[in-house]
């Protein structure tokens, strides 16, 4: 017994998947009872933009975390309107991990998420508004601060505002000073808001 080396070609090039890799077979495989087959199908569907709707539909039924993770990655790569709408839909789910994965995926799609951000921040459900702010956390988009200011100026829900202030601690500029001071006055009895606003103001003044 010792170290063994197969011929390079055998060792690493044996592709065990048997079925076809065209869109139709992949969509069929996406419904396979075996998670590993669904994973591979979801991954290979990256090459087929027409598969977005099927992936979105599968996502809501999929209970294997490893398959879900791949579907989210594929939707991030495809990134069209249907994909984004499917991700938005996940924000409204009762399932915390589904929501959080959707948030993570949307952070990677600044150009696609930007046009709908205003609507998300105006959603009647405060949870959705909080998740929209969570998306801004890592969104590489020049409007991030403006969106956050919109929130702290108008949103009546303390936790939506609190989440926005958390981010302003990192990205706030001089433009945020006045709105932050006003927010403090809107929630005088909330120690957390007072703390977070003071921290944001301190960071802005220092920069």
């Amino acid at each position: 017994m010792a170290f063994v080396k197969k011929k390079t070609s055998e060792a690493v090039n044996e592709d065990e998947r048997k079925r076809g890799r065209d869109c139709e077979s992949l969509l069929a495989e996406l419904e396979s009872p075996r998670a590993i087959e669904r994973r591979w199908a979801a991954r290979d569907l990256t090459d087929f933009p027409q598969a977005t709707a099927a992936l979105v539909a599968r996502l809501r039924r999929e209970d294997d975390a490893s398959v879900r993770e791949i579907i989210f990655s594929t939707l991030t790569v495809l990134g069209d309107d249907i994909a984004v709408a499917g991700l938005v839909d996940c924000l409204k789910s009762e399932d915390a991990s589904l929501r959080n994965e959707a948030i993570e995926a949307m952070k990677q799609l600044p150009d696609e998420v930007a046009p709908i951000m205003h609507g998300l921040l105006a959603d009647t459900n405060p949870d959705v508004r909080i998740f929209a702010v969570n998306i801004l956390e890592s969104l590489r988009h020049p409007h991030v601060e403006a969106w956050l200011l919109e929130v702290i100026e108008h949103d009546t829900h303390v936790n939506v505002c609190a989440t926005a202030v958390d981010l302003l601690v990192e990205v706030g500029s001089g433009a945020a000073q006045q709105p932050l001071l006003e927010l403090k006055q809107r929630f005088p009895a909330e120690p957390y808001i007072q703390f977070a606003v003071d921290l944001a103001l301190k960071r802005i003044a220092a920069g």
Partner: protein, 282 residues
């Protein structure tokens, strides 16, 4: 006189520290302030930013995320040498392999994948460790595959020629046993060079990685931390598919799976924390 870029205020340092921690998992103690400031100022100057504020905005919002990679590079010391982070190799022979062998139902080889291969110190260290410190090597076949994106570095790894510096942490006995001193440096013996299969792989290319399956252990140390969020996620998914159920993955000392994926189980062994693909997956 323009603002001196060479001053970073306490609040700026805090802001940077939180951001960097969120992105990389690396948490600088306040005692590291001088180290961090020095490197930040270096990057502020190199990128032609006027001050910390402008630099930070670029770092946070840059679409390519390149600057964050640059900065991570200089904030971490990424040197490769024989027996670097040896506690993980101890973990391999004392904890991981015994567990794998105990539940193994066939007599196929145990497969280990090392990526990035870099110039070969790590795969050869593992081969030496198995020969020296794992009795199981007398009973089991082991396949070691070591991959890198860079074909030049792979050629160097195959040749197996190393400087004094590379081998300085090797016990003299092992240096003598497995290396030949030449006028160009220390060359790894033929037995070890034959033991490792070197292959070229781009971890972000599905076509490159899909044939990599059925590994028992993957070493991916000090690589993912330099990737952007999407590439890290892809890599973590690739490793998941490359591992057998119950297979293990070892990351670098400053890396945590908490920034890459939630699919793996966190396993604590006496020597190290490693990550495991769940056993019960289909």
């Amino acid at each position: 006189m323009p603002d001196m870029p060479s001053l970073i205020g306490e609040e700026e340092f805090e802001k940077f520290r939180e951001f960097f921690y969120r992105k990389t998992g690396i948490q600088f103690e306040t005692t590291k302030r001088y180290f961090v400031d020095k490197r930040l100022i270096e990057r502020i100057e190199a990128t032609g930013s006027d001050n910390f504020r402008n630099y930070f905005t670029m770092l946070r919002f840059q679409a390519s995320g390149e600057e964050l990679q640059q900065l991570t590079n200089i904030m971490t010391v990424n040197e490769t040498y024989f027996f670097r982070e040896e506690y993980q190799f101890q973990c391999l022979v004392d904890s991981i392999l015994p567990e794998i062998v105990a539940r193994k139902k066939d007599d196929k080889p145990i497969r280990i994948w090392i990526i990035p291969s870099s110039s070969g110190e790590e795969p050869y260290s593992i081969a030496i460790y198995l020969l020296e410190f794992w009795a199981g090597i007398n009973e089991w076949d082991v396949e070691i595959i070591s991959s890198d994106i860079d074909t030049h570095i792979l050629a160097q790894a195959r040749r197996g020629m190393y400087s004094d510096r590379s081998v300085q942490h090797l016990p003299a006995r092992l240096l003598q046993k497995y290396f030949t001193a030449t006028h160009q440096g220390y060359q790894v013996c033929e037995e070890l060079r034959d033991a490792v299969e070197f292959t070229r792989v781009n971890l972000s290319e599905r076509a490159d990685t899909r044939a990599y399956r059925n590994f028992d252990v993957i070493f991916c140390r000090n690589l993912l931390i330099y990737f952007d969020d999407v590439s890290r996620k892809t890599a973590a998914e690739t490793f998941y598919d490359a591992l057998k159920p119950g297979g293990f993955i070892c990351l670098g000392h400053s890396e945590s799976m908490s920034r890459f994926s939630s699919l793996y189980k966190v396993r604590k062994f006496p020597q190290a924390i490693v990550y495991q693909k769940p056993l019960e997956v289909l």
